[in-house]
Every structure is written in C-alpha cells, then in structure tokens.
C-alpha cells in the first residue's frame, strides 16, 4: 500500500533569466513502513523535495498525496495541522527551541495540538532516545548527538504517518551518526514508521530499503537495497 504518492512535482525559483528548476516533474511513491534514502549532489533538489513533502514549501506544480490525501489542497491553517499530526521533520541543525528543555521540545507538537502528553509515553520515548537523565536539559546543555535525538523524539512523538529527515547526521561525528541511524532504523522497524532520509553518506543510504538518486531536479536512479523485510 502506497502511503506517499508524488506526481509530476515541480518547483521553480526566480523568474526569467534567473529561473531555477529545483524539481522537474518528479514522480514516485513510497509504501508504508519503507525507509527511503534520497541522495544526490548539492543543488540537486533534495531539500526542496523534503520541504515539499513535509508541507513546508508549496510546489509550483504537481501533487503530493499522503495516505490518499492531497496535501496542498489544504489552506495554510490545515497545512500547519497536517505538519503537526502527520509529518515528523528532522533537520541537520536540529531546530530545537532553545528556551525549552529536552522533554518540552519533544512533546511540543502534541502540546500545540492541545493535547496533554502521556507521562508514560514521555518516559518511554526518553528512554528510547537515551535521554532519560537529560530530560530537563536545555538544548545548549546537550551535545550535538543528544540534540539530534531530541529532534528525532519530537518527530516520532505524535506517531506521524511519515518521518522526513534532512541530513540528520550531517552535523555529527561518525559514532553519533551511527547511533542516530540505528535509532531511526529501530523506530522504522519497531514502530513501522515510513521514513525518507536525505543524506550524502552512502553507508547510511545503504542501510535504507530503497535509494532514490536526484540530479538536476530529476530522479535519475531508484533502487531497492535488499534491506527491506
């Protein structure tokens, strides 16, 4: 069953002579529970694709369906609620809220939704992320790896349909990178999370079920790695 469906996606920046096609009629679909890596050189449109999939940036043309729902048929308000409930975003630079501690950052999407976090689930998620003893630390008091784990926890906390990660290990050392990927893989397997990971690291890509290669706004290669169950 296809959870994510992308049809003829285009994104153009600038006008006239300055026009740049970041994405040019990109189409693909992702089944539920698949962990997909998107690779490609700088400027190939990877981050643009991720932002469009995550409801952060509107496409110039084309459609994105998540669980059969046309994502961009929604207005800005509903798009925000869509991001909150159905997408989990993980960034290279974490994008944590500096005034909130680890636990508060992690539960923020749920709180924004007007729901109260279940203390048991909070404890479980903190344990899963290895942050139990860091739950009341501010981002500035955490290492890069720990901050990224908070960011992953935040993305997973509402159990969204899809997790989108933009170079989640790009800012981390190899040890932390390995831990983060292992954590994502574990979440993918245990929680059946659909994941799309943008990376430059071939080793990480090879740990995914599928690798999409982007170049100049087109998908130039789409292979299964054999990591799937």
């Amino acid at each position: 069953m296809e959870l994510l469906e992308i049809k003829d996606l285009c994104k153009t920046y600038g006008k006239g002579e300055n026009e740049v096609k970041a994405l040019d009629k990109v189409s693909f679909s992702v089944p539920k529970g698949q962990m997909t890596a998107v690779i490609g050189p700088s400027g190939s449109g990877k981050s643009t694709l991720l932002h469009i999939l995550g409801g952060v940036d509107r496409p110039t043309a084309g459609k994105v369906f998540l669980d059969g729902q046309d994502v961009y048929a929604q207005n800005d308000h509903h798009l925000a609620i869509f991001r909150r409930r159905q997408v989990g975003l993980i960034y290279q630079f974490y994008n944590l809220i500096p005034v909130l501690d680890a636990e508060e950052n992690m539960t923020l999407p749920l709180i924004m939704d007007g729901r109260k976090p279940d203390p048991k689930r909070v404890a479980e998620m903190l344990a899963l992320m290895g942050l139990t003893d860091r739950r009341h630390h501010l981002p500035s008091q955490l290492s890069g790896g720990q901050q990224q784990r908070v960011s992953i926890g935040r993305a997973l906390f509402t159990s969204p349909g899809v997790i989108l990660a933009d170079e989640p290990t790009g800012n981390l050392d190899s040890k932390n990178s390995a831990e983060i990927i292992a954590l994502l893989r574990k979440s993918n397997r245990e929680l059946e999370q659909t994941m799309l990971i943008i990376t430059h690291d071939e080793n990480i890509a090879l740990q995914c079920d599928r690798i999409l290669t982007l170049a100049d706004g087109h998908i130039v290669n789409d292979v299964l790695t054999g990591q799937g169950r």
Binding site: H51, V56, D76, H77, R83, V99, L138
Partner: protein, 747 residues
C-alpha cells in the same frame, strides 16, 4: 582601514539595523538638544526680563554730578557705566561683564559703602538681583544660580544615563547578530582591537547622520514648543504683562548645542566601543560556534503558563532570554506608568494647598466661588484726629465699585459678635450684613424674605441648628460697641482705663479703642434652613448692607469692623483695565489683594512643573517604548529560523500570532501590575504624609485611589498596541518569505 570599509558595508547592507541605530541616536540627541534649547531659551527670556528692570547690575542714586563722576573714576572694574540726571540728582549705572568675586569679597557691601560715602544713605542704590544672579557676578549669585540650576543638572544627568541606555541597546542588538562574523574575522587574522574598531567606526559613521539629525529635531521641537507657549493668550488668560511677553525670545546656545552634540558623539563612540569590547571577549572559536539564539539558562514561567497555557509559557520564556534588557524595559515602563498615574492627583493636592496657604482666601473645595480681587475699602472723614477708615462710611466706595461696571458678585460682608441676653454663656450670636448677591448665594435663590423687603424693614433672618435658641419676632442681644480714641484722648485716661483699651497698629498709625457691652433689640423676620452648617450653641443673624450702614455707628461704635469687598471680574480680558482703575485715583480703596494674578502665577508655576514632569514621563515612556519596540522586533527577527521551525512542526499562524501577542502582553501586564502597586503605595504614603506630618487632612480628598487603575489601564493598552505593532510588522514581513527559505536562514 578595513574596519571603516566593513563598517560602511554593514551600514549599507543592513539597512534596518542602521536605521534603528540612527533612529536611536537621533532620538537621544533630540531629547538632549530639546532640553538644552528649552533651558537656554528660558535663561535668555529671564535675562531679557532682568534687563527690563534696567541695563545694569548696580545703580547708585541721589548723587551729585561730581560724585557720580568720582565713582566712575574711582575704579575701572566695571565693563561700562552710565551717568544720567534724575529728579535734580544724578545716578550712575554700573554693568559688569565678568565674575567679580575675585576682586570684591562682597560686591554688594562695596556698592552700599559707596552709597553711604557719597550720599550718606547706605541704601541709596539698586541691585538688579536677577541679572546679577543670571550673569553670576558675585559669589552669592553663583551660589544662587547653582541652586536654581541644580534641578536642571540632575535632569541632565538622568537624561544622559537614559540616552546611553538607548544607544547601548541599539549597538548591542547589532553586535549580537554579528557574533559569528566577528569570530570569522578573528579566525582569519583580525586583532581584537580591529574587531572592536569595526563597531567604533560604525558608531562614528552613524553619528555623522544621527547626531545632526537629532540635534536639528531637538531644536525644531523646542522651537515648536516655544511657538505654542508664545501663541497662548499669555496676557489675556495668564495675566502676564505685555512688556514681559514681548521679551520672550527663542534662543539657541551654540555652547549648549555643542555640549549636547559632543556628549552624544562621545556616548555613541563609548557605546560602540564598549559593545565591540564585549564582542571580543569570546574567543574566535566560541564566536564561530555561537548561535544568536543560544540560551544557557532560563527561568520557568509557571504563572504565565498557568494563565495562558503553553503559548503563554513559551512567550514568557522568550521574553526572559535577555533578562537585562527585559528588566530595563519593564522598569522604564513601570516608572513612566507610575508617574502618569500618581502625578495628576498629587499635583492637584499640592496646587490647592499652595493656593490656600498663599492666599488664605481660596476655597479648595469650591474654586468657582473664589474672588478675583479683595479690595480694602476706606473712607477718610474730615474729622480732626480721626484718620482711620470708619465702619459706617463704606456706602460710597461700595457704590463706586458697583458703578464701575467691571465687577460681578461684589461681596461685602461685615459682622460682629453678640450674645442673646441673659442666655447660657456658651451660646453666642454672629451678626452679618450681606450684599444682595451674598444673600442670594446664602439662600441658594430661595430667600425666606426678599432682600429689598429686609433692607426696608431693617429686620434680620436667622440661621441656627437649634430653633429653641431664638424665636421669630423681637429679641435682644448683648453686643460690643467700639470707640476710637485719639492719642491725646488715650493719654488722658487713667492707667486702669488705658489697660482696658485695645492698642493696635493700623497702616503705620496706632489705634486706641475702648469697648462697651450694650443691649440692642433685633427683629427676626424669617429663617434660613440649612442643616449641619451651623455649630451647636451658635446663632447667625443676617441683615442687609443698608441696615448696617444705617445702624452701624449706634450698634458697633465708630470704628472699622470689616472693610473688604470681594469681587469677581465680569470679563477677564478687562483685567489690565481694572488694574489701572484700582491703581489710579480710587480714593476709597487703599489697597487690594490681586488674588487672580496670584492664582495665575501659581497656575503658571504648576503648569511649568506639570510640563517638566510630563516631559520626564514622556522621556521615560519613549525610552521604554524604544526599548520595547527594539527588543520585540529584533527578538522576532533574530528568531526567524526558530519561528519557522516551530511552524514546520505544526504551529499555525494563529498560534504564532497568539504567542507573540502574549509576549507583548507580558511586558504591558508585568509593568502595569508593578506600576499599580507602586502608585497605590505612593498615594497611600502621600496621604499619610499630608494627613499626619503636614496636617492637611482636607487636601487628601484630592488623592484618588481609583485614578491609577484607569490611567495605568489606558497606558497599558497603548503600550500593548505599540508592542503588538512592533511584533506584527516583522512577522508580516516574514510571511512574504516561504517557510523553507526561513528555515535555511543563517544567524
């Protein structure tokens, strides 16, 4: 000079920051230039007024021509001297152009000595005190001037500190945003001095525009204020003589403006250099890895969170990111709100009390019925030996006042004390005689007997809370009759009789009076019913002025009782005409107390005080507003990426706006609540002080505890709208940029 190049590039590319910094410098300079110009204009006006008294510091009078020449030749310390002829004598006017304290220990004593030497009268000289003080000619003058200017100096110091705060804040914001750039510059070889030099150069460049701009604005503002004051009907409404109004000139002191500009420039450079020095305290590595949104410590926002939920909690945490700036802004807002709330009531109380203290006539509770003039009437009979005003002869001056057509509400009330015959010694009677106006006022338009009827019959109406004390119809009173004696008549009395006499001074003459108690019959024609007005055991009888004039000598003797007429002017614009009328040739009026002019002077003084305090309040409010706008708008722009991240994880635009509104609300609420507590405490303290220490219980009625609530509420609302505008503008700008772009934004 790569510092200058980088500073210039930064100014040109970061237009918003540059505009903000120039605006802050200009606002600071404008306030300083405004204050200095107001001061120099005031000093200039005062000097013009002093010169109205005479173009001299000292003037010796009543001199012989050769003596005047001898004084002029005696020493040449003066800058100029003028010898003129006056009433068959000569006068010499001395003008000094420098401080004379080094030459004469006491210039005043020296001039007095000259007067004594040449005229025999040590007082035969005039000192133009105001000019001596303003020009600082003597040591005493300098001390007086220092006393007067000390308030101004305090204001200047206060202002200078406040301005430094505004400029500092602007540079702090600018440098905070470039921490990483400074780190990068240092990593490629810039020395700490060069790095600090970039900000200093930037301060210098921005000053080149901000300082003249602010100075010009301040002078312009002062000129506008001067024109508005001069445009007021000063002569007609504030009764300031035309000759004084003509001397009011706008003046700009190059010295003061120079001081203001140099102070501003030094402040800017110090702020820029100080900010630069703070920026280089961090190592290049620390600066390179730092992010402008790094928070090391944060205070939990329990209360705000409880009140407004997670958005409130987040808003409060955001506000506390820069605790120093937050506290300074809250403090400035709180103080300006408190001043605004406390000031009107306290000023009203002080003004009314001052008026009462000074005049003794004002009724603070009923200013409408305050007379404009208290005119002392007299009638000098041609009786040998009797030169004092006679109680029985006031008809003529009273009619004179009535016929002048200038006055309304002429109130001539005379009275005496008596006692109901053979009654309780505690009981006593006051007998008053009223004009028709005063009678109507007393009866509030419902007289028990018409005034004319009362005048024709010579009867009285009574007012008492105890009706059994006196019944309608005939009654007999014991009253005191006074008789004036000549000095010879007094000397002829025996020592016992002299001891029983009243001896008093009356305008330089000595009065000798004897007293005798006698019983007279009065007829009560009606009653004035006013409960709670008259004390127990007191009866007041009211008759007409005509009755008084016909019977006064028989009843009270041949001396003065009361001889003042209180009047209100029909038309305030006739004030100067009335002054001429009273000053020139009114033989029945020996003096008058110009209450209205006194009141206008007090109003003027309080107006100046009010304007001064309003200026201070305005300045504080401006500092608070600039800081608040600065902190809120830059706070949002600094958090561009963070706010985008919040939206990317599901925060709606409405929630974002809600959070920023709550951030603004926290500034206003916190300062409002603090100001309310502070205001009420100050008012309570003032009331206790006035009641217990100053013993002015009636003044405390002017203190309103509800006024601060309304006032602070209004200011809070205004501040909230300013803050909301400061936050919505950058948010609105950010909305134009796609969320993905905002997420890519670097610090």
């Amino acid at each position: 000079m790569f510092e200058g190049l980088l500073a210039w590039r930064y100014i040109r590319t970061q237009k918003r920051h540059s505009a903000l910094t120039i605006g802050s410098i200009a606002a600071a300079l404008a306030m300083m230039a405004f204050l200095f110009t107001v001061f120099s204009t005031t000093a200039g006006c005062l000097r013009s007024l002093a010169l109205l008294n005479g173009n001299y510091h000292y003037c010796l009078t009543g001199l012989a021509k050769e003596d005047a020449a001898a004084i002029a030749a005696e020493n040449k310390d003066y800058a100029s001297c003028l010898i003129t002829e006056q009433e068959e004598a000569y006068r010499i006017e001395l003008f000094y152009d420098q401080y004379m304290g080094d030459i004469y220990d006491d210039l005043d004593a020296y001039i007095s000595g000259l007067a004594a030497q040449y005229t025999g009268d040590p007082m035969a000289y005039d000192c133009n005190t105001m000019l001596v003080d303003l020009d600082g000619i003597t040591l005493q003058a300098r001390a007086n001037a220092a006393e007067i200017f000390s308030l101004f100096y305090i204001l200047v110091i206060f202002l200078a500190v406040s301005l430094r705060l505004i400029i500092d804040t602007a540079f702090e914001v600018s440098s905070k945003e470039r921490e990483r750039q400074f780190g990068m510059l240092r990593s490629i070889g810039a020395t700490p001095r060069q790095t600090a030099g970039i900000l200093t150069a930037e301060g210098l460049f921005l000053s080149l525009l901000g300082v003249p701009l602010g100075t010009g604005a301040g002078i312009g503002l002062a000129y506008l204020a001067f024109r508005s004051v001069k445009g007021l009907p000063l002569t007609e409404t504030y009764l300031i003589p035309k000759s004084i109004v003509e001397q009011l000139h706008f003046s700009v002191s190059p010295l003061f403006i120079g001081i203001s500009m140099v102070t501003g420039l030094v402040w800017v450079l110090l702020s820029a250099y100080g900010t630069g020095m703070r920026a280089i305290r961090r190592s290049p590595m620390q600066a390179l890895t730092a992010r402008s949104d790094t928070v090391k410590k944060v205070r939990k926002a329990y209360l705000y969170g409880k009140l407004f939920g997670w958005k409130g909690s987040l808003a409060s945490l955001n506000n506390h990111r820069q605790p120093k700036r937050y506290v300074v802004t809250i403090l400035a807002l709180t103080i300006s709100m408190t001043l605004l709330a406390v000031f009107p009531g306290t000023m009203r109380a002080l003004q009314s009390q001052t008026q009462k203290e000074l005049s003794g006539y004002w009724d603070a509770a009923d200013p409408e019925h305050t007379p404009d003039l208290e005119i002392q009437l007299q009638y000098r009979e041609d009786t040998p030996g009797v030169t004092v005003p006679r109680a029985v002869c006031f008809a003529e001056p009273l009619h004179d006042l009535e016929n002048s057509g200038y006055f309304t509400d002429i109130d001539f009330t005379v009275g005496n004390r008596g006692r109901i015959e053979a009654s309780d010694p505690e009981q006593y009677v006051i007998i008053n005689y009223l004009t028709e106006y005063a009678y109507d006022q007393l009866c509030e338009g419902e007289p028990p007997v018409p005034y004319q009827e009362l005048a024709e019959s010579g009867e009285f109406v009574v007012m008492t809370d105890q009706d059994d004390l006196v019944s309608d119809g005939a009654c007999r009173l014991e009253i005191t009759r006074k008789h004036d004696l000549t000095e010879a008549g007094y000397n002829a009395l025996s020592p016992e009789e002299q001891a029983a006499c009243d001896v008093m001074s009356w305008y330089g003459e000595t009065l000798y009076q004897t007293e005798e108690v006698h019983t007279e019959g009065f007829t009560i024609a009606g009653r004035i019913q006013k409960e709670g007005v008259v004390m127990d055991h007191l009866v007041i009888l009211y008759g007409t002025i005509d009755t008084y004039l016909q019977t006064a000598e028989a009843l009270y003797g041949d001396t003065a009782v009361h001889c003042y007429a209180s009047c209100k002017l029909k038309d305030l614009s006739q004030y100067w005409e009335v002054r001429d009328y009273l000053d020139n040739g009114r033989k029945h009026m020996i003096s008058y107390t110009d209450l209205i002019s006194l009141q206008k002077i007090i109003e003027g003084i309080f107006m100046v005080l009010r304007v001064g305090i309003q200026f201070l309040t305005g300045m504080l409010a401006l500092i608070a507003a600039v800081n608040m706008i600065n902190i809120i708008s830059t706070g949002i722009l600094d958090r561009k990426r963070e706010l985008a991240a919040l939206q990317s994880i599901g925060m709606t635009k409405r929630q974002l706006c809600g959070m920023t509104v709550l951030e603004c609300l926290q500034y206003c609420l916190t300062s409002g609540v603090a100001a309310l507590f502070l205001s009420e405490a100050i008012l309570a303290g003032t009331e206790i002080f006035l009641y217990n220490v100053m013993e002015m219980p009636e003044v405390t009625g002017y203190i309103s505890y509800t006024q601060p609530v309304v006032c602070i509420g209004l200011v809070m609302t205004a501040a909230f709208f300013v803050a909301a505008a400061a936050s919505f503008l950058p948010l609105w700008q950010m909305r134009k940029e796609p969320l993905a772009e905002q997420l890519r934004a670097v610090d």
